[in-house]
């Protein structure tokens, strides 16, 4: 349709031949009868180009046409992309197929595929708007009545679009959602997001700075490589020199001369020695030349083989590193698959299978940002509070224990990293809505882990996240249950993970407390751990001492490194999960 209008308007870009014919006819009539046109003398009009209105209209129409064509092009490409994105017949086992799908999904997120696809309807809408504007402008010059109709309908369409944008922005449940509505809805969040934006900018600058700091190391590495290459050449040349030092020529000369008889030997001492010398030179440099050539060629071949052997032996280490790196990538991929399954699946066996796989990992393998939502869902899904007592769904105790430990680990990581992200705020709000202030976790085999989580996420404004997220009306007065560490002797892996998490919480508590104090229950954990005989694992002792050191105000290097560990997660994570309040 746009093309049809373009053709119609395009006719005005050329002079009309009938105008010239008419002018000539008028001139002929004027020559025949001077009075035919009164005093007017007809002339042949000179064409001075199309009118400016026509140019404007044509420009807008062509812009509309281009955008439409671009949208068609994008639609075709999108069809191709989607065809190749997830084919129906993926080969391999179920794990490999899951990994494949996860990789594709990660690619879709990383490359903003959804945003690109959303451009398609947006471009068509823009093309339609441009067509409306061009038509209105074009018809306004021809007939205002006709133009008014087009302008009215175009204006109505535009106003309707603006209305649904506003409606979609105001109400999330409004079915008329558009990209514009999404943008408008987030405008009030922009001031609140400034710290996050600044943090992101800071992270980018930090990574740039880290990269710049790596440059000397890179040069050092290149220098090392060059030194290694030089070393290889040195070693091979040493082998070469050993070969060269072998007296082949002399041996052959000696062999030849001894076969020539005594007379030549005597001649060597006689005045005819010169002739003997010449003969020797002739023999050595001409007759034996091909033989030396072969020998030298053999030496060069041996030297090159030595260089090759050294060269082959060198890159064994990078190959191992590459293998480890590939394993890490697969590991991260599996974690994302689990995270996806935990978040999206409502199928109980699928969630349990994902958790069982998660149970084979250690907390350090678990990416906090990706998994915290799924772990929290398990916690709230399988731990129910009845009359103030927490109870676990029968048969899922082990899985809940594992998920609660991982959740504590993830929580402590996030708290140390950045205690103000939206995800933590949502977790905090949902937790306080699910678990009452005085929930009793006694009797559960992992009551200490849950108690610790409760202390962190409780609405108490004196400790935990309650200090950060002030939720009005949720913190009742009166005493509350504290974590009691007496007789706490968990398996060493659990002990290590809990101690690690508590150290981070101690650092958080110390920094957040206006008096510079670590929460008492964390000090009691240290006391309990350090009182045990035999002593707990070394890492637990170290973490317990770290808690005391933090309380004493020592600059603990280990506690500082916690942030560095957390940054690893932030750098590797590209998926951000947003929890919604149920």
């Amino acid at each position: 349709m746009t093309a049809a209008f373009v053709v119609v308007v395009h006719a005005e870009f050329q002079p009309d031949p009938s105008d010239e014919t008419n002018a000539l006819l008028r001139m002929i009539i004027h020559n025949l009868d001077n009075t035919a046109f009164g005093g007017e003398v007809p002339t042949v009009p000179l064409w001075s180009g199309p009118p400016s209105t026509t140019v404007q209209v044509q420009a807008i129409l062509l812009a509309s046409l281009s955008v439409s064509l671009l949208a068609a092009f994008l639609a075709m490409l999108g069809r191709q992309w989607l065809n190749r994105c997830i084919p129906a017949d993926i080969p391999g086992t179920i794990i490999e197929r899951c990994q494949y799908r996860q990789r594709k999904l990660d690619g879709i997120v990383d490359w903003y595929f959804d945003n690109v696809m959303e451009l398609l309807p947006l471009m068509l809408q823009v093309a339609l708007l441009l067509l409306g504007c061009a038509l209105s402008r074009y018809l306004w010059g021809i007939n205002t009545t006709v133009a008014s109709v087009v302008i009215g309908i175009t204006a109505f369409g535009l106003l309707f679009y603006l209305f649904i944008v506003v409606a979609g922005a105001v109400s999330v449940n409004c079915p008329y959602q558009t990209p514009g509505a999404n943008f408008v809805r987030h405008i009030p969040d922009i001031p609140g997001n400034i710290p996050h934006i600044l943090l992101r900018v800071q992270t980018i600058f930090r990574s740039v700075w880290d990269t710049l700091r790596q440059i000397p190391n890179l040069f050092h590495h290149i220098w090392d490589t060059l030194r290694q290459v030089a070393d290889i050449f040195r070693r091979s040349s040493r082998s070469f020199s050993i070969l060269r030092s072998f007296p082949i020529k002399e041996s052959l000369c000696y062999l030849a001369l001894t076969t020539m008889g005594d007379e030549f030997k005597k001649a060597h001492r006689s005045p005819h020695g010169i002739a003997y010398k010449l003969l020797q030179i002739l023999f050595v440099h001409i007759l034996l030349f091909p033989l030396w050539l072969i020998v030298d060629a053999c030496k060069i071949i041996i030297w090159l083989s030595v260089v090759f052997v050294h060269w082959v032996q060198q890159p064994t280490e990078p190959q191992t590193e590459r293998k480890i790196e590939q394993q890490a990538v697969i590991h991260l991929l599996n974690l994302r698959c689990i995270s996806w399954a935990l978040q999206m699946s409502v199928d109980e066996p699928v969630r349990v299978s994902a958790l069982e796989y998660l149970a084979t990992m250690t907390p350090d393998d678990c990416d906090p940002i990706q998994n915290i939502a799924g772990l929290f869902d398990i916690l709230t899904g399988y731990v129910k509070v009845t009359n103030g007592d927490a109870m676990v769904v029968q048969g899922l105790e082990q899985l809940v224990a594992k998920s609660s430990l991982f959740f504590l680990h993830a929580l402590s990581h996030l708290i140390v990293m950045d205690p103000m992200p939206r995800i933590l705020e949502d977790v905090h709000r949902r937790y306080t809505a699910t678990f009452p202030f005085r929930t009793n976790f006694d009797g559960l085999p992992f009551s200490h882990t849950l108690g610790t989580i409760h202390s962190v996420l409780s609405p108490d404004r004196t400790e935990g996240l309650g200090m950060v997220f002030h939720i009005e009306g949720l913190a009742p007065h009166g005493p509350r249950r504290r974590v009691q560490w007496d007789n706490y002797e968990p398996p060493s892996d659990v002990y290590t993970a809990v101690a690690r998490a508590l150290t981070k919480l101690a650092q958080f508590g110390y920094q957040r407390s206006w008096r510079g104090k670590v929460p008492r229950w964390l000090l009691r954990f240290s006391l309990h751990s350090l009182s045990q005989d035999p002593q707990p694992p070394a890492s637990v002792v170290a973490d317990s001492l770290s808690i005391i050191a933090i309380e004493l105000g020592c600059g603990v290097p280990d506690a500082i490194s916690v942030k560095q560990i957390c940054h690893r997660y932030v750098h590797t994570t590209k998926v951000t999960i947003t929890l919604t309040l149920h």
């Binding site: 000090l523 350090l530 009182s531 317990s544 005391i548």
Partner: protein, 161 residues
């Protein structure tokens, strides 16, 4: 771990040398929590942390330390028969105990007396034993009277208190 221990020791030393009462009082819970580990370190012949802790404890008043938290540990320490070094450590730290509150604790006092009886009489330990003995006798002399006279022989060492 050694680095953290070094940091803690240095901090305690600095606070003690500076006679920073206020900070020591505020951090008394952390100092108390450190106590068991310092004792285990003494068993492994690492004396620095316990020395620092004892110096801090002497600057603080006994009541300021949260002894009730470590009471089960102290009972284990005094009744332990396997390590003589632990008994010696128990004697070294005993003056810091709040005997004015524990003077009615027969079990603890008897355990302390029994421990003091078997610890070798060294000049380093003698001041601590005698100081504790005087504290207990001041608050509850009767509990010490049925004990063998050996406990009083510590006084013959004439320690410089």
């Amino acid at each position: 771990m050694e680095q953290i221990l070094g940091l803690i020791t240095n901090k305690l030393m600095a606070l003690t040398d500076a006679r920073d009462w206020d900070t020591l009082n505020r951090k008394s819970k952390a100092i108390t929590a450190l106590f068991p580990y310092a004792v285990w370190q003494e068993r492994d012949e690492q004396y620095k942390i316990l020395d620092a802790l004892l110096r801090a404890a002497r600057v603080l008043r006994p009541k300021r330390l949260m002894w009730y938290r470590v009471e089960p540990f102290l009972g284990t320490l005094l009744n332990d028969t396997s390590h003589i070094s632990l008994k010696r450590t128990a004697m070294l730290v005993s003056p810091c105990f709040p005997w004015d509150e524990w003077h009615h604790r027969k079990d603890l006092i008897r355990a302390w007396v029994a421990t003091a009886s078997v610890v070798p009489k060294e000049e380093q330990v003698a001041p601590s034993v005698v100081e504790t003995l005087l504290q207990i006798s001041y608050h509850n002399f009767i509990l010490l009277t049925p004990n063998p006279g050996d406990i009083w022989s510590w006084l013959t060492l004439r320690p410089y208190l």
